[in-house]
Amino acid sequence: QQQVKQSPQSLIVQKGGIPIINCAYENTAFDYFPWYQQFPGKGPALLIAIRPDVSEKKEGRFTISFNKSAKQFSLHIMDSQPGDSATYFCAAEGTDKLIFGTGTRLQVFP
């Protein structure tokens, strides 16, 4: 019940493409769904987050789509750039617990 399933494990796109990363959760007690971006040798950094009462949130080129009934959410990166190459983790947070997905390694080629 505490798992957050994330796919795909890795993703390769050309510059300008729109990579999509999907996540699913089980525990309906989660009430905050952040995405973290991690570069090699660095800790995860909060990228964007959404609450379950909202179906979509955009911040710059990053968009979260949230489907509460399906318990699924996804990250879309518009006009992807080589600098977006990193590992992305979805997460689910609730009652002082933060559970991470398994991560997606994104490579954006010029």
């Binding site: 994330q6 905050y32 952040p34 973290y36 040798g41 660095k42 800790g43 995860p44 950094a45 909060l46 987050a49 983790f89 947070e93 002082d96 617990k97 933060l98 991470f100 997905g101 398994t102 991560g103």
Partner: protein, 111 residues
């Protein structure tokens, strides 16, 4: 605001030796976390402090791992004795409400 500070950045030890990591959270953040991140995996919570009290240590291997946050600010995580499978990045994070801020981590290699 200053970020979460961790030291050392890297540590290489032999199995059965001991090692300690240090974390200084963002000023004013009452909640502090230690995570273990094995290569290719997501971070896994080891222990969570609220001020200087332990909130959750259910995933901490208590036979070899210990952690403290004596004055509700800095924290140390210790491993004694270390095993090969402890090789990982140890991340410290702090939070005020929602959204965690992570440090850059300590990369531990046990040989």
């Amino acid at each position: 605001e200053a970020g979460v500070a961790q030291s050392p950045r890297y540590k290489i030890i032999e199995k059965r030796q001991s090692v300690a990591f240090w974390c200084n959270p963002i000023s004013g953040h009452a909640t502090l976390y230690w995570y273990q991140q094995i290569l290719g995996q997501g971070p896994k919570l080891l222990i969570q402090f609220q001020n200087n009290g332990v909130v959750d240590d259910s995933q901490l291997p208590k036979d070899r791992f210990s952690a403290e946050r004596l004055k509700g600010v800095d924290s140390t995580l210790k491993i004694q004795p270390a095993k090969l499978e402890d090789s990982a990045v140890y991340l410290c994070a702090s939070s005020l409400h929602y959204g965690y801020t992570f440090g850059s981590g300590t990369r531990l290699t046990v040989v």
